[in-house]
Amino acid sequence: MAEKIKIALKRGASCVGCDIAIVNFNEELFTLLSVADLVFSPTLLDVKYDDLKKMPDKSITIGFYHGAVRNSDNEEFAHIMRDKCQILIAYGACAHMGGIPGLANVTDKIAIFKKVYKETFSTVNPDGTLPEEKSLDKEGHELTLPRFYDEVYALDDIVDVDYYVPACPPTSDINNKILTVVKEFVEEGKPLPPKGSIIASEKTLCDECERKRSGEIKVDRLYRIQEIAFDEEKCFLEQGIICLGPATRAGCGAVCTAANMPCRGCMGPTASVTEQGASMLSALASVYGMTDRETELSEEDIEKLMMQIPDPLGLFYRFSLPKSQLGRVVKERVE
């Protein structure tokens, strides 16, 4: 039998759901462990950061980094993982595109600290203490915290990334795809996919989705999912529930739409575009409120119609704001 490869898992700004996605291999976990040794994973193993730092460079075959990069600790370990691993995979939506933490790019560090440490309902902080990079405890020991950044980054903004595994979290379909690739590489010496590959489909989610479409989509009114008794078989968009399927990459197996939840877009943009937000914007603008009276509408009518779409930025860039064309929100004097 071929020699086992070594794999490592490290998290950045992440909810650790991606570690759980690895555990979610279920019995396939044994297949994974038959070809690979898990040498570093702070969530699953009793390891210390120093253990990783002491490993020789390029001694780990495949490293999975999940989570975005939003502080100096995330960044330091992104570099360490790059040095220690032959192949580095951006695993999950946050490492791929910034993910949910990436929505912090609508604001900045000062505003986030103010909100979190002073203004939230449950905060009791009479002295207005804010986290500091260096502070002294009562005995005079110096304590340090990582530096918090103004902006959230995807992993490939910081280091070179070999492969991307999208989704929040990667589904078992995607995991099995990786497992097959890794297994064939280890046992049969099959070549790996070309560098920069996204381990998913090239098409849109609608291609995989099993829900029924009746033909041309016309959306008269928008509903939140709890506001309407919707048809469980029919396309969500046809029923006025915003689903990001038309602008989202397939490969997840359309598990959300099969479970009656509209797509939120965690797989990122499809292969032929750079921007998930812009493609969803085009798709929604073309179907929303379309009637035979289109030519009678004035520009103000159109504007009023579009104003009914709440929070386009949050809706279209829920997982991909740091990797959108503009990347972050700016503040311009409005006059």
């Binding site: 902006e151 980054y153 995807a154 490939d156 903004d157 575009v273 750079t274 921007e275 937000g277 812009a278 493609s279 914007l281 085009s282 929604l284 603008a285 073309s286 929303y288 289109e294 030519t295 520009e299 159109i302 504007e303 119609l305 579009m306 104003m307 779409i309 929070d311 386009p312 930025l313 279209f316 740091p322 990797k323 959108s324 064309q325 503009l326 990347g327 972050r328 929100v329 700016v330 503040k331 311009e332 004097r333 409005v334 006059e335």
Partner: protein
């Protein structure tokens, strides 16, 4: 500012109306501010919102989309789609923190050389008032291209 602000403005013109209008403005010798560049597209509906966002990322101070008047589209209904998308693009740009006047949609027919000159000149003046785009001067880490 010691140096005069020279805005960088991108103007998307549809092939059948606005581009011909720009041509007419040229042969009619109308004076137009030199701070804009034209990109010709077959239809204003061909302008992907992605391109507008990309222009701002690259430091454009303003973007215009010019097409045929509603009802006059060479492809029958392209500009009706354009005005729907562009209404949403304007909302999105405002959410990204840009002044809404940095983006404009106008209808210019092939016979309206004078209107082309006027809307472009007005737009350039407005952008000069607003100053450089915050994205152009944003100091940040270079991101890997998407």
């Amino acid at each position: 500012m010691s140096e005069e602000f020279k805005p960088r403005i991108l103007v998307f013109c549809c092939n059948w109306c606005a581009y011909a209008g720009a041509d007419l403005a040229g042969v009619s010798r109308f004076q137009i501010s030199p701070h804009f560049r034209v990109i010709r597209t077959l239809c204003s509906a061909r302008v992907d919102p992605e391109w507008i966002l990309h222009a701002f990322r690259k430091g454009a101070d303003g973007v215009m989309v010019l097409g045929c008047h509603p009802g006059d589209c060479h492809y029958i209904g392209g500009n009706y789609r354009t005005r729907r998308r562009m209404a949403l693009v304007r909302m999105l740009l405002t959410q990204f923190g840009l002044n809404k006047d940095r983006f404009q949609l106008e209808w210019v027919s092939a016979a309206e050389g004078e209107k082309f000159a006027r809307v472009v000149n007005n737009f350039v003046e407005r952008i000069k008032e607003l100053g450089p785009s915050p994205y152009g001067k944003l100091e940040r880490r270079e991101r890997k291209a998407v």
